[in-house]
């Protein structure tokens, strides 16, 4: 059995309108990984996911899911896979419970087992009270969670999450991530695409960035973040200040009388900054990153690729 959950080799996709969405990408994702596949809109993420999940036909290349080539035994390869698509893809007129149980049935899972799994998933995803409701009556966030329940009911070894938290409120989003982290800890490989980059930074071990149909970065999250040469911090001050303190080695800007923006290079020491501010009688009440670190890198990588 392969050590990889997913192996993509030379994957190409040219649509009927001659748009080349994928220009021969290679990607390997190890078993048990929590992997982020990021990229701007139209970069090729959805085409890649579409081909893996057989919604889109590939033009060329190979895909193996847990060592099974999709060209040789697609049904077997698909049995390993669960997909939470970006768009709602269930019948809006069916009951929540029926949608999940029916999906299990498509994988050959008998109804009694499907019912038990459905109950477990709907409870974990806070949808049990809605099980008899028609899907069209659910809120946006509830529909997203139903998509997750549907994708997990056959207990896939590889779960693809395409924008899973879009439209989900903060509290439920946190619950969802706890749930998904738990699944990952129990051995399910997860591939995530998201526009909430702080979520990718928080949960994913490895990352690939795709742009204009090519992989521009494929590394560990740790390694990627270590390349960040400058970081900006927002400092909330205890008291108002009239003028900026004169600290030559630090780049400081005033956002308002009680807030400073400090931009530090890799070599700068935060303790030195605080000491210097104290010397000027400035006390910092709290501090946060101005921008998500991964977001900064992401924008930079995509801009570099565009030659900007």
């Amino acid at each position: 059995m392969s050590e990889y959950a997913l192996e993509i080799t030379g994957l190409k996709k040219v649509y009927d309108n001659d748009v080349e969405a994928l220009k021969g990408i290679d990607l390997k994702i190890t078993k048990g990984d929590f992997f982020a596949l990021l990229g701007p809109n139209g970069a090729g993420k959805s085409s890649t996911i579409g081909i893996i999940s057989s919604i889109t036909n590939k033009t060329d290349g190979n895909i193996k899911i847990f060592g099974v080539d999709i060209d040789q035994n697609f049904p077997k390869a698909k049995s390993f896979l669960g997909v939470v698509a970006q768009e709602i893809n269930f019948s809006q007129f069916e009951k929540v419970e029926d949608i999940v149980i029916t999906q299990a049935g498509f994988y050959g899972i008998p109804k009694d087992i499907a019912k038990a799994r459905c109950k477990n998933l709907l409870k974990k995803l806070s949808l049990w009270d809605k099980r008899q409701d028609q899907a069209r009556n659910l809120s946006g966030g509830q529909k997203r969670r139903l998509m997750i329940a549907k994708a997990l009911v056959h207990e896939p070894k590889l779960l693809i999450l395409d924008e899973p938290t879009a439209g989900v409120d903060i509290e439920l989003r946190r619950e969802m991530w706890d749930f998904l982290s738990d699944i990952n800890n129990k051995g399910t490989t997860i591939i995530l695409t998201t526009h909430y980059l702080e979520e990718a930074e928080q949960h994913c071990n490895n990352i690939a960035i795709i742009d204009e149909g090519s992989i521009v970065e494929d590394t560990s999250m740790k390694e990627l973040l270590s390349r960040l040469s400058i970081q900006s911090f927002v400092l909330d001050l205890e008291d108002e200040i009239q003028d900026l303190p004169d600290l030559p080695i630090f780049d400081l800007k005033s956002q308002d009388p009680k807030t400073l923006i400090a931009t530090l290079t890799k070599d700068d020491d935060l303790n030195t900054l605080f000491d210097k501010l104290s010397e000027h009688g400035i006390k910092v009440k709290s501090m946060r990153n101005e921008q998500n670190r991964l977001e900064e890198l992401f924008i930079r990588l995509v801009k570099e690729k565009d030659g900007n």
Binding site: S54, N57, P75, K78, S79, S91, G105, F106, G108, I109
Partner: protein
């Protein structure tokens, strides 16, 4: 998929299809009963006695097999075309494409739905006809049931092909409205082609619906304008041809995969 899993997957899809049209029974099961009742009242009870006998049968009695076929064809076709286009439109087709179900099993599930609705409608319309003509006796049960199923299968497959190519709700209405309905009405539902002038009689023989309606009439009344072995052969041939087309479309992903 193992055989057991495959059987369960087919049962699941078939159940889903049955659940769909039974959930909206007011739209799917009641209208044919109402429409047929009106046909029986107007053409059977009011105008029928003035027309007199047709091929040796009371006019209302002659109409019954044709009206059942009219309802069965429409039901089987529209069930599959609307259901499959519906899942395409709502992207619920992805549920099936992502699953390990083979394409033939997907087609089978949809055809089961179409056949179930077609047969159910056939029985409902027959029961309605008994209200207006209680002494109706079926001449050949075996042939009647065989034609009922063959017709439902054939038009379910046609509905599937239409749905695969459909890009809008207009596309699923064009064939039933402009092709199927005229061919059925001109296919001997209300008259025997023996009453037509030779030229129109010969033109009518080129209408495939004529063979479907008349084979069913042979089963129910023991009277037909066409050769039964030829008609059964044609229906079987069309079923094989349409099945091959459906599987080709599914395997190529035409209309369902990008």
């Amino acid at each position: 998929m193992e055989t057991k899993e495959l059987i369960w997957a087919i049962i699941t899809l078939s159940e889903k299809e049955l659940r769909r049209f039974l959930r909206i029974w007011v739209q799917t099961l009641v209208p044919p009963a109402v429409t047929t009742s009106l046909y029986f009242v107007i053409f059977g009870s009011l105008i029928g006695p003035r027309i007199g006998a047709m091929d040796g049968f009371d006019y209302i009695q002659f109409m019954i097999p044709g009206l059942i076929m009219l309802a069965v064809i429409t039901a089987a076709y529209s069930n599959v075309v609307s259901s499959f286009y519906g899942v395409k439109f709502q992207r619920a087709i992805e549920e099936l494409l992502i699953s390990p179900m083979p394409n033939w099993a997907i087609l089978f599930g949809y055809v089961v739905g179409g056949v179930a609705r077609g047969v159910m409608i056939g029985v409902i319309v027959f029961l309605v006809s008994l209200i207006f003509y209680p002494n109706f006796e079926i001449a050949n049960y075996g042939l009647t049931i065989l034609v009922l199923f063959l017709t439902s299968i054939m038009f379910s497959l046609m509905g599937f092909i239409n749905a695969v190519y459909a890009d809008s709700f207009d596309d699923i209405a064009v064939i039933p409205t402009f092709v199927l309905t005229p061919l059925i009405y001109l296919g001997g539902v209300f008259y025997s082609i023996n009453i037509l002038p030779d030229i129109w009689r010969n033109i009518s023989l080129a209408n495939p619906m004529l063979y479907v309606v008349n084979t069913f009439r042979e089963g129910m009344l023991g009277s037909s304008d066409v050769s039964i072995p030829l008609a059964l052969g044609m229906m079987s041939g069309f079923i094989i041809l349409f099945t091959a087309i459906c599987l080709y479309l599914l395997n190529k992903g035409i209309g369902i995969r990008q």
